[in-house]
Symmetry: C2
Subunit: 206 residues, 2 copies
């Protein structure tokens, strides 16, 4: 037996892909029923697994949820794949794709499901921030900083705050107002709030 092998000695190897299926199931249940409404049986059933299998891999419901939230982080675009249309408006609107809207809504539902738990579990705040909040804001920040470099918007624009306007309005509309966040709404936020705040003229009409 050579080294460089870190675990399996005898019998069947532990199936790591099973972990991912259970985490995905946990996210589904989390988004649908929230942390308190979620039971381990629900998660196990959705993953076609037994309750014991879940507890063989995570010590408690809380740790499962933390892992599930953390694993959302991976499903992200890399910087090179960002649109580059030449204008900030073009870039921001190119980011509005059906898939992105669905993904965002799901993340917000997960976040809503975690809300009650955030107060008691500080490490969940970090996990949720890294997996849900930051990736979304990061894209806007990059696009705005590009616009800054090419002189399209003032160099002293507060892109740190402005990159959060879209996400904040979408979260507010979804979670508080319970109204749909569709393409038209996102465009109206871009054209009616974000771009004017950056000193760019409103496009002709809408």
């Amino acid at each position: 037996m050579t080294l460089a092998d870190s675990a399996p000695k005898l019998g069947r190897k532990r199936d790591l892909s099973r972990d991912g299926e259970i985490l995905l199931a946990a996210l589904d249940v989390l988004a649908e029923t929230g942390y308190d409404g979620m039971t381990i049986d629900m998660v196990a059933a959705r993953a076609k697994a037994g309750k014991a299998t879940v507890y063989r891999r995570w010590a408690s419901k809380g740790e499962l949820v933390i892992d599930a939230v953390a694993c959302m982080k991976n499903a992200n675009l890399d910087v090179d794949a960002l649109p580059d249309t030449g204008t900030l408006r073009g870039d921001l609107i190119a980011m509005i794709k059906p898939h992105a809207i669905e993904d965002s809504e799901r993340k917000l539902q997960v976040m809503a499901g975690l809300m009650s738990m955030l107060q008691k579990t500080p490490e969940l705040v970090d996990a949720a921030h890294a997996a849900i909040i930051e990736p979304r804001a990061r894209i806007n920040r990059i696009l705005m900083n590009r616009a800054k470099e090419r002189g399209e918007i003032p160099a002293d624009a507060d892109t740190e705050t402005l990159s959060l306007v879209g996400p904040a309005m979408a979260a507010y509309r979804t979670l508080m107002l319970r109204k749909p966040v569709d393409r038209d709404y996102l465009i109206s936020v871009i054209d009616g709030v974000v771009l004017p705040a950056l000193g760019l003229p409103r496009p002709p009409q809408r």
Copy 2:
């Protein structure tokens, strides 16, 4: 016995002020622990009441919470008490008072505590909207429409959306980012987002 008295026949009159104390206690617990973490014993203890007393007045935990949320609606300013400084910026900044910040934060904590319940209880969406969301947006809308009437901002400005920018940013910062919403932050949102989006120049510095 004259008329104009609507109930008591014998014995002790039912103490209506007790209702209010219990509802206030329920809001405290709701803000601190959320709907699922809240127990009727907690509410009763905080109101120095017995559990049975609570159930004598509300049929279930859910109805108690709905009533508690609805009763937040009353603690609101009337339109005549709004500031009128002559400029939109002056009015918006005059609204930032320590009491208003605390009140707003408490409402957001209550809202966070309700989050998990909103999905299953549509009538709570309405109650929360009327008591928490709308009063805050309403003030901004009124101030902005005044500015519109006096010609300070364009007549076609989308005040419906812009009146939600402040509340949305505050909610996002409190509930998602878990950072403090203080006077400086609110001013930076007003000066960096809301006013520029309305075509008003940014004030000299900050």
